[in-house]
């Protein structure tokens, strides 16, 4: 139900209140103006809030109550793998030896960290079928860009500087073409065919001596396995290009097939998806990159090395593309991913993928009679349905997504991939029980019926959330990105 606004923390502030307590240090009092030169000392204080500790806790608790996570309920956000975030991960990542170590401590003082990182790299290499892994990239998009920079370095080393194009399917995630741009490439789009797979003939047409790489997710963003993958790999390799694997969809294939065996030369993984690093309300993630042998020399330095049970950083990497991130990546997320891999083991991870695929197919078949299913084949860990049928009744996918909020669910990803009209992309994940899938299917079917019988009910949704549909046009036309008294107080209700 609509609720009064939670006041901004600034609106709760009153001079004189504090929520901190600094340590006693016995440092003798000194005058700041004796230490710092004139003009360098700040005159106006930043307007940070002044509240007590309880006020602080109440504020953030109130905010958390206006938020929805996997622990709140079903969250079938396609392409994002919103699986359960194990609580043990949160404990291990906070252990003092991991959380309270500094990246510049001498190697001898942090052998535990290095051992964990090394073993994680090995595990990820094994899962993906690659030869070497770097943990430096911060997230999927940074992994993509890193991978493309590696491919670029390889082509340059081979004197093939005319390879300026990266091929990306029309169903690809937006980060793929964006990463290609940041890496200095032009991007070329390859079409999806009627099967929902890359159009092989079109791929052959757009592949040329200019091709630096093909970026592909497999299963693709429609949730379908690219069964022509070997032929695609041959096409690209014969033209002298390389294959990049966007690992956002690895949750479907662990222990079943590996990018390295499908002919991919570079992969990134999203440890915040398949490997349960929590999504954090938008991050932090971790986007390790795995490569085949020929690309190892170009990896971002330093590279973690093991000799006689001692771990150290190899800084002598003359061909490296350079650093992509300071220090050693999002270590704290990597501890969580490692904890997860050690919880599941090889057999468990395979089961994860099998059940992720079972759950997705089950939900897809339950919904099939009520929604348009653009691609009827077995899906992998996720599937897309189209709201075309409902659109004819005046109910759009956006409306149905908003209506799902009233039923207590986070909606699927909507309007992505962009090549499917009124798209809804559903990824249930393996951690959901059949009862949950059934209840969700019933809600979706209920909404499909409402679209026929009471379209306004859906068009005007949501009816039960703390705020109604928000005016995004207003937000973009007159951007208010920070609090100031005039603009904020006015509309406080």
């Amino acid at each position: 139900m609509k609720q009064p606004n939670q006041p901004l923390i600034f609106e709760q502030s009153k001079p004189g209140r504090v929520a901190y307590s600094l340590p006693g240090t016995n440092i003798p009092e000194q005058s700041l103006s004796d230490i710092l030169p004139e003009g360098s000392i700040r005159e106006e204080e930043p307007a940070l809030p002044e509240v007590s500790e309880l006020q602080l806790m109440r504020h953030y608790t109130a905010l958390s109550n206006r938020n929805y996570g996997v622990d709140s309920g079903f969250y079938p956000l396609g392409s994002c793998t919103m699986k359960y975030n194990p609580k043990i991960n949160e404990e291990t990542a906070r252990m003092a030896g991991f959380a309270a170590t500094h990246p510049y401590q001498p190697e001898a003082q942090v052998q535990g960290n290095l051992e964990m990182m090394y073993d994680l790299q090995q595990a990820l290499a094994q899962i993906t079928g690659m030869d070497e892994v770097t943990l430096q990239p911060a997230a999927g998009a940074q992994g993509e860009w890193t991978g493309l920079m590696l491919i670029r370095a390889l082509h340059e080393a081979n004197g093939e500087t005319e390879r300026t194009e990266v091929i990306v399917p029309d169903s690809a995630h937006g980060t793929n073409p964006a990463s290609a741009t940041v890496a200095g490439f032009d991007h070329v789009t390859v079409r999806t065919d009627a099967r929902g797979l890359v159009d092989l003939e079109h791929l052959k047409e757009v592949t040329s001596e200019k091709t630096a790489a093909l970026m592909l997710t497999n299963p693709n963003t429609l949730g379908l396995f690219e069964e022509d993958i070997m032929e695609m790999a041959d096409t690209i390799h014969q033209a002298g290009g390389r294959l990049y694997y966007d690992g956002a969809n690895s949750n479907a294939i662990m222990g079943i097939t590996r990018p390295g065996d499908m002919g991919f030369d570079v992969v990134h993984l999203n440890l915040h998806k398949t490997f349960t690093g929590p999504h954090g309300g938008g991050g932090p993630g971790s986007g390790p990159v795995g490569v085949k042998k020929e690309l190892i020399p170009y990896l971002p330095g330093p590279v973690l090395t093991k000799e006689n049970d001692t771990y150290y950083w190899d800084n002598d990497r003359p061909h490296s593309i350079g650093r992509v991130k300071p220090y050693y990546g999002n270590f704290g997320i990597n501890v969580r991913a490692y904890t997860y891999i050690r919880t599941m083991g090889a057999e468990g991870l395979k089961k994860v993928s099998e059940y992720a695929v079972l759950n997705a197919n089950y939900l897809m078949r339950r919904l099939e009679p009520y929604f348009d299913l653009p691609y009827g084949r077995h899906c992998k860990h996720e599937f897309v349905i189209s709201g075309r049928r409902q659109k004819k009744l005046g109910v759009r996918t956006l409306d149905m997504a908003k209506r799902l909020l009233d039923y207590g669910y986070h909606p699927p990803t909507i309007y992505f991939p962009i090549n499917v009209e009124e798209c809804m992309m559903v990824e249930p994940t393996e951690t959901e029980a059949k009862e949950t899938l059934d209840a969700f299917a019933d809600a979706m079917i209920g909404i499909a019926k409402e679209a026929e019988e009471d379209p306004e009910m859906v068009q005007e949704a949501p009816h039960t959330t703390v705020v109604g549909r928000l005016d995004e046009t207003l937000a973009a036309r007159k951007p208010v990105l920070t609090y100031n008294t005039e603009t904020s107080l006015k509309s406080m209700k």
Partner: protein
Amino acid sequence: MDYRYLPVTGEDKEEMLKTIGVDSIDELFEDVPENIRFSGEMELQNALGETDLLKEMKRLSDRNANVQDCVSYLGAGVYEHYIPTVVDHVLRRSEFYTAYTPYQPEISQGELQAIFEFQTMVSELTGMDIANSSMYDGPTALAEAALMAASENRGKRRTIVVSETIHPEALDVLKTYASGPGITVKIVPEKDGQTDLDKLEDMVDADTAGVIVQYPNFYGTIEDLAAVRKAADKENSLMIVSANPLALGVLTPPGRFGADIVAGDAQPLGIPMQFGGPHCGFFATTKKHIRKVPGRLVGQTEDEDGSRGYVLTLQAREQHIRRDKATSNICSNQALNALAASVAMTALGKKGLKETAERNVKGAHFFKQLLKQKGIQLVYEAPSFNEFVINLGRPVAEVNEQLFKHGIIGGYDLGEVSRDKNGQMLVCVTELRTREQLETFAKHLEVLVHETA
């Protein structure tokens, strides 16, 4: 074996397969060609039950020396500071950490409001008009600032002039980012621990999209931002400042000097060091550049009843809309750590931020005086925030090895940056260091320095 994260029972499985119309899960994978099927089992370490795994993780954790058991003087971009207890309590609210990007604003008002508050706090600290919802870390935020500068003026200016006194890893990251689109990075040399301002003036030319300095810089000293502004103005180049946000509790904010972009890492505000990540990049700029900002922005708006609410806004800049024309490829960012920084800034508040920052200045200054008394040479005389450079006259690694025997993690070995800085140590003194600890550290240093003298 049973798995506690997998709820599908044998009976469920049978029913589900029946609904799907197949006999086995294997059938669902029939589109995976035989020749790329993975046969056998992946070679992974064996799975462990909860209790055993906690033990194993503790074993790994205990193989590290941590800064809670030792006394650390390391800084160099990653800092050990007071983290109010409330920060982690808020982070553990699973409505926050098990959510993703707030694509559905009606059920994500909590996250959106928290980020809106974060953007406000960063703008306040830096003295800038607007801030985004976070970047991966300080160095990548800085690299994105450089790319944004180069994209202004219709992308005609192709050079970034950067001071040698920024963090060496930030410089590395910047070079990697710049090499993609072919942006030239010119390096202004250091002089007496600061940017050589004469050289800077000479190097700024009509092709200079932006000038980058760090504040305080890598050697701990406070750059003359007014002079940097002047140099950048010579050719109408953007002024980009990489700032330590805690230092801005006491230092005049870059916005006051007319900075165009202020980037940095919010790690000093409530985020544990975690061996270098995840931390939290921030990015602040002026209104003028609002449509070129990389990453996510949260904006205030209203619902149909005029009730205040928050949404992701100006998304036409972003990869999911603009694809190859996006202002950046960033998608997932560091939202949870932006929340941590917000909670820490709220806990510290106006008064606490200032007090903490001042304690850093005073603690470091006290320690400088102490070292001088012991005959230990300070390499630069310039004023500093919480870090400064001392000359040990012998290999820093050797000294650090000795210090560690006394439970002290010594400062950063500047010999790692350049050979002519061998024997120089970058020391960091935060509000956590007590007089007693500093006196002990000084005593050990005195002995170690004079051993060879």
